[in-house]
Symmetry: C2
Subunit: 278 residues, 2 copies
């Protein structure tokens, strides 16, 4: 049987007939069938095909220890969030999930009330809340990991010769509560100096993410939770370039004073509802 437009997909699927791993075979069949569909729909010229090859090559070559350009690509095409949605179907009132993002690294242990913003200047903010189960029972000793960008829109790892900053890991108290001091998060662009940035630009899309703080919460007997808290009123809430906003994760910043020194500061409250492992 000659290879041609009509026989192409079957020919490739047939070449998978010896695969013993059913899952692998299923995945490869799906990928090849849909990639061939794209080619048949788009009918790329040789030049367009080569452009795609070079884009993928450059995207791979932009990756290093501190930069993952393919995750960024997955993010801006809504694929990361789709995978996240599929793997975290909400059953009750548990806190919704959103993407991990590329800036998670290990963070220092901090105590209740500690300030995690040590190397940046910004508007002070106290973040607090409690960790509960779906029936509002407090969860003690939950591990709460937080990380965020500074007022300049950069995470610590994005700076040359970086010092760990704007990240910390704490434990919830007996009544499930937690709180820490930091600076008000700020909207920021994803890295645009690589192939994905160029694509966003040619797609006439801005590179911004609305202000947020990342949370990763773990408690024995409960599903791990990866999420963000977003700030009400941010101009990019409706057009997050990585599609990660969910209404249930938006909170209002309240104005107040720090009880410790009376200084003006914002308050951000974010309760976390964990789902039991069944």
């Amino acid at each position: 049987m000659d290879f041609n437009e009509k026989t192409a997909t079957k020919a490739v699927l047939d070449s998978f007939s010896s695969i013993k791993n059913d899952r692998l075979k299923f995945v490869m069949n799906s990928i090849v069938t849909h990639l061939h569909e794209v080619i048949k729909e788009v009918e790329p010229t040789d030049e367009e095909w080569l452009q795609a090859i070079m884009f993928l090559t450059n995207t791979g070559q932009k990756c290093d220890d501190r930069r993952q350009e393919f995750i960024l690509l997955s993010d801006v095409l809504g694929i990361s969030m789709l995978v996240d949605s599929i793997n975290n179907r909400k059953s009750k009132n548990e806190t919704e999930t959103t993407v991990l993002g590329p800036f998670h690294t290990t963070s220092p242990k901090v105590n209740m009330g500690d300030n995690i913003a040590n190397n940046v200047n910004g508007e002070k903010c106290i973040v607090s809340g409690k960790v509960v189960d779906i029936n509002n029972n407090p969860i003690a000793k939950a591990t709460i990991e937080v990380w965020q960008s500074g007022p300049d829109g950069l995470y610590d790892v994005q700076k040359e010769g970086h010092t760990v900053d704007l990240r910390g890991t704490m434990s919830s108290l007996e009544n499930g509560s937690y709180f820490f001091r930091t600076v008000k998060p700020q909207y920021y662009p994803i890295p645009i100096d690589g192939p994905v940035g160029k694509v966003l630009n040619s797609l006439e899309r801005h590179p911004f993410r609305p202000a947020h703080i990342h949370f990763m919460v773990k408690a024995e007997g409960y599903e791990n939770l990866v999420t963000h808290v977003f700030i009400e009123g941010d101009k990019y809430l409706e057009s997050d370039t990585v599609f990660a906003v969910k209404k249930s994760l938006i909170r209002k910043l309240e104005q107040g004073n720090d009880p410790e020194n009376g200084e003006k500061c914002f308050y951000l409250n974010f309760d976390i509802v964990m789902e039991k492992i069944i």
Copy 2:
């Protein structure tokens, strides 16, 4: 509107609404729609998704001046040949096309009858034929570029500190004919020391291509032609790992003697039918 499994694809397509270039918008819509379909069908775990990210990253990082791992990936998934088929729909009896492959580079000018195999030992072979139009009229001064691997299955560029070998460019004579001396081509594996080789292995597929010689033929007023000639009887004709075999491109090796020195040699005849540019 919250991002979820149902709204995901529309959300991303909506983000393309400002694209002014209609072709780009069409291509991006097709790519995103089908990639999302794959995700919805496959429902990858976070680990599987990360495996895919790392595979793409490693594939990009394997590429350099002499190695194009993404083209190899496109080849083994039948995508290169599908693009080739779409861009070279055969209308009459013109010679069918097949993939360029990753080993094309500029080649030295050779004269009629020259030997292009200078640094390898192999079974001698005289390749000849004529370049004609679809009505069998000879095409003079067509530029015929040929390249092939040696008896060790390697192209010159695959060897450390390589010398140009097994490639040449000649012109057809007034009667359209051409001929050159070389060694009999041999089946060979595509490079398997990279991410694509690992994938082929896990797909229980062999990495071999049946023996062939590449041709790129150009003549004024005719469509450029990129093709191979394959050798009848080769054990990999039915399972070329890049899906590039077409029955019309298979030729029989005849046994004979070189008229110049009487030595035993093979004969391979391959006429080339060019399509006029309309």
